[in-house]
Symmetry: C4
Subunit: 211 residues, 4 copies
């Protein structure tokens, strides 16, 4: 077994481990959605009350959706990086570990957002949420820049245009999330709205650029 | 490495990620089954009381079983789609993401059903449960129709009869769950009974059709 | 791609999915171990009190260990079956699903045991625990018998002696757990002790037989 | 299919299962971070109060980070062992099972540390944390020594210097954690500080030695 195949196996196991972390983090999000525990036996209109209580969970559904789609988009982009990067080194493992750290953290700001999104404390919740999003964007940028600097970890024969486009994306991401973080101190709705918009943008770019 | 093998690797990682989500969602279901916490030290017949309390969890066992089998059947059908579909594109990833979103949501309506199945609020619980089931059916139908339209993502040499049978199945599924949703407003038992029946039907079709 | 390779891929994905379920179930067990929440600021000997409270979790550690080792041994045996079985059919998938159902259930009887092992209610806890173990043993036996009857799903060139030994093991397993279930109504300690003994026995047989 | 390929498949599935356990354990850590549940509607400065409450979670963030990085480093080292070890036998599976047991346990001492790190009870928390770390170090040492004694499970053509360096590392690890355990009874800060230092050291050695 020569050196190349060991390297590829390494990347393979890093991918598998990362996929596991993404899959678990995305599935754990639902655990924050707690079923309302009501004693309906002496209520005049139990069905109406239960609907009402389920409707009141609205911010929780929204936070769940936002985080689910965010993690999915992160996974798609992670996946995309690993179709271009086929070798691994120490620093790459380190930056990938930082990405995974940020991904596993997501359920915490999500729950914070779900609790405080619609009342007092919403600015703090939006700041923490967009702050974590900023950290994630920085970790991805660091991972990507390390892998591509001088082309050192790229698959031979990679498409230069695709790499250039991704480099641009990873340069702009942190700036955009920095704006979202700043907005949180002015308007939590604007900050969360921008986060939502960015997820949609990255979803489309992650899927369609580089053609 | 040519374009085809990159595509196949892509499908492989989508499968692996999806399998992870299915496996976690199906295993998290047990967390809703809470052990009754009793102080038995001053009870006359502690064993009888504990049996009684365990029996009272009946609806929870039923909801657990229904959801476990549902997710397992979804996995079998997902698996089946991926033996026929070998290529992936943007929209396919999107629809697959929607399927996964629905799968990870399952613990929530399951717990709702377990809590309210047998008393007031049962119609709401049945409506939410069958409504989520309808969404899942729609997501599968969209995934399948996108993959098969014009045969674009199919493995060369796929069996036409199998594809035709699956297309029929995925056309009828949403209609059947729409009926279950409608029934929920009349009789929660009928709605849940139909969901149960459909799971059994899809299990058998998922396993045996296309021979 | 011919039929054989599709079959092998099928088995591969069943293995991967099953591994996921085993890995998650075995890792979720720790969630039942709750850290004692004490307010130590006004306690004379806080360290001594915390040690004491940690010691009182004794039955929880024991139940955790028993279930961890049980699931690990189940995984080793599942793994072993899949080195001999390389083909898959509908009923095999069904029985494998039943095995996975039983595996995911394990955290529930484990927590029941941890709560009631040492006081009143211990017979109920032991009966439920050994009852679930009996169901697991029956599911394994059904899986194995289906796969080996007439050698239909076996890898060509399998070792006959190994299959014969495993068949004997899977015949005796359910009987032994039936005894454990019966013992639960007489002495919970004897029932749990037998479960523990059986795990050790299966661990050794799973590892060393068939050489 | 010859004997070698069966062995390699065996190692492959052990790796996959182990990766699953590592990925789940590392992702479950976030569940201990509970969002503060405040009723902010009648508070004069809700944002300030929420920041304050989030700051008070400081020890929880620290414990989370320490355990996340520890499990990641364990995974990197596990991964490294499996690039050198390509064969598997009964005792190897047993020692690997012990490693996994220790890994899944990590959330418990982590939560203990988060709760009691900064007040009375901190020595107990530090002792349990470093004690579990010692057990993990011992399990790794046993796994490694079993695999390398007489070179029995090593890949033909392994690099002797790398093996020698790892052997030295796995000899020193348990001693270092034994010191951390002893320190816990004197100063919890010193004990946790040493654990942190060791994680950093093992991270660097795990990544850079053997070149």
């Amino acid at each position: 077994m020569n050196r190349t195949s060991i390297d590829e196996k390494t990347t393979g196991r890093v991918e598998a481990f990362s996929d596991g972390v993404f899959a678990i983090a995305i599935t754990l999000l639902i655990l924050e959605l707690k079923v309302p525990e009501l004693n309906l036996s002496e209520v005049a209109h139990p069905d109406a009350l239960l609907w009402e209580k389920l409707r009141e969970l609205g911010p929780h559904y929204l936070a769940f959706l936002l985080s689910f789609v965010s993690i999915l988009v992160m996974w798609v982009n992670h996946h995309r990086i690993f179709t271009i990067v086929r070798k691994s080194d120490d620093a790459f493992l380190f930056w990938n570990g930082l990405v995974l750290l940020c991904v596993t953290v997501v359920p915490f700001p999500t729950e914070l957002l779900a609790h405080y999104m619609t009342g007092p404390g919403s600015k703090v919740a939006a700041a923490v949420y967009s702050g974590v999003a900023l950290l994630i964007a920085l970790a991805y940028t660091a991972l990507w820049q390390h892998a591509t600097r001088g082309g050192r970890l790229l698959t031979p024969g990679y498409r230069e245009q695709e790499v250039a486009e991704l480099s641009q994306q990873y340069r702009h991401g942190p700036l955009a999330y920095l704006v979202a973080l700043g907005l949180a101190f002015v308007s939590s709705a604007a900050s969360i709205g921008l986060c939502l918009l960015l997820v949609v943008v990255f979803a489309f770019r992650g899927l369609t650029s580089g053609r």
